[in-house]
Symmetry: C2
Subunit: 363 residues, 2 copies
Amino acid sequence: MAKKRPTIKDIARIAKVSPTTVSMALHDHPRISTRTRKRILRIAKRENYQPSLVARALVGKGSYSIGLIVSSLTDPFYPELAQAVEENSLQLGYNMILCSTKNDIGVEKYCIDSLRSRGVDGIIISSAQLVDPNVESLIEGDFPTVLVNRRIKNEPLAERVDYVVVDNFLGAHMLMEHLFRLGHDRIGMITGLLNTSTGFERAEGAKRFLGERGLQLDPKLLTDGGYSRELASVAARKLLNLNPRPSAIFAASDEMALAAREAILDLGLHIPQDIALVGFDGIDATGYRRVEITTVAQRRYEMGSMALKILIDRIEKRTPPMTSQVIMKPDMVIRDSCGYRLYGYKPDRSLKAMNPTHDTVSR
Amino acid sequence: MAKKRPTIKDIARIAKVSPTTVSMALHDHPRISTRTRKRILRIAKRENYQPSLVARALVGKGSYSIGLIVSSLTDPFYPELAQAVEENSLQLGYNMILCSTKNDIGVEKYCIDSLRSRGVDGIIISSAQLVDPNVESLIEGDFPTVLVNRRIKNEPLAERVDYVVVDNFLGAHMLMEHLFRLGHDRIGMITGLLNTSTGFERAEGAKRFLGERGLQLDPKLLTDGGYSRELASVAARKLLNLNPRPSAIFAASDEMALAAREAILDLGLHIPQDIALVGFDGIDATGYRRVEITTVAQRRYEMGSMALKILIDRIEKRTPPMTSQVIMKPDMVIRDSCGYRLYGYKPDRSLKAMNPTHDTVSR
DNA sequence: GTGAAAGCGCTAACAG
DNA sequence: CTGTTAGCGCTTTCAC
């Protein structure tokens, strides 16, 4: 039954001073003489005193805690992001409360409410939907919020919120161009959640690429993977049963690409000889030998660190409504799943250069 | 600047009752007439009132939050565990504060201190070391604590703490027996952290297996992988350069097995023809086609759920010092990395049966 | 049935 | 330099 820990009063009593003095000593307040401060610090340490952060939070200075909302740690995209947020939080004296929504907007609301009741100083959300009432009311209430990975669409709110995302249009474009230059015209697509910016933008990016070349996307080649392993698996099978079969599959996430890979291999088909495959995200597994899936990588740890930094700045420096929106450039990583190393690009397919790393827009 | 949310006083004022009444109405206290309760509830909802959990925590009823301490989410063993703890916590009205220690006992101390200052009602620790002063003082202070994955050794404290772990001795034994029956005598071992129960017990289990058969473990065949990808990689290379080369490698975790796999493949060797490989944990990647590593699987989600359940019971039912220690049986999953499907067991190597699922010891 | 008052642990005026 | 007082938002006796 948890022996209770000493309070500031206990220390005060032992040190024969007032709680105020103890409080100030603990905060290095100049008013307190060095001698008594030292004495108090010594006693506090001896008694194993730890100030109650809940009392501190109540009195109103902030709770030194933040919330992180993800879809699910089970999705390999998130752990590294969460790790980054956690490590950096701790570093700065904050704790991180983690919530997962499983992409359910109702759960998301519940999480946000809990977090706010808990008095967190800010929230990082990586599970936002394109139109997300929960996020909207956070912004409207001027509550310190940073979106990461997925952003919202609704103007004018979308302009007022900080975010760190990857350039999904560009990523999709790079991947499609890669496939196109390898000679693929009939590309099956397994989409992510289309009500999220990542899902929507990746699909849109792919379509635009085709559009620019006057190609149409056969609706049959568009299947819904919903960022789930299971859905992606059935989507892949659907694509593979098409006649004629697509010569390549573009999965909007590596998790789904991995599922597609199993489906392909199950049919006894070879990658890339029989069919090419690309993913999106750059999770570790795509790089394992004999897996070797071409993808577009996101620097997830960095994204988490940046999001946290932005949030803490917002909280501590009370920076004015100066929005910082970061759009990172994804890194193309070409592996064996499309046949580039085997065949190279077709000479008759033109190229367009892609470039730098990431850019920040502040205004 | 975060518009501030209504307090119980605001609601009281609007409803023209006292804060007491509001509080009781919110808690369905029988004293309050149904009519006024309804009215208050309605107003509370309209004003979007959410009780401050920090105030509630301060007043002493418990904070409805718990802490989860892991080594790092970056290690694929943990995300699922964390997800389980989080989901089930939320379900029960708790929030989860996540901390990662990177296996540093100092960081662990810092995490525990923060958590306690935050008034968490209990802590689940998956990163304990065999002798872990931080865990010890938690137990001594009778603070609700559940160990998961790794347990402590020090008697008598080790007897008094709740835990959920897998039978690492058995797991190692199963794996060794599998290799042995396939004809392997010269088995290289990449160990985990030997100052943790998992690392120690897996190594020990392997040694015992050998010992029972009158075989010695050549010290050269013992290398330290420290549960890190990088260390495991150099350990694997060391083993592979041995002359004669071991005919099999036993990695104490799947992460390390994956690293070993890369090293093996880098040398142009074939698995299992040139060398067999086994891991431990049952992470997803081991099951991908063309990866197919034989391993011993832990039900990580279930372990997380159980640990949480035990913790909450301890917190809410204030169950007396009735320790519940769960040792789960690992599940052997035979894949292609040892050649069983290719060659089968050698007839001259005897078998011993293994069995059920998990058992609970309560006393 | 309802309200007033005290207090959880801490901080921040305001006095001395 | 140090102590007294009040109050953060809520719950809980104890009166009415």
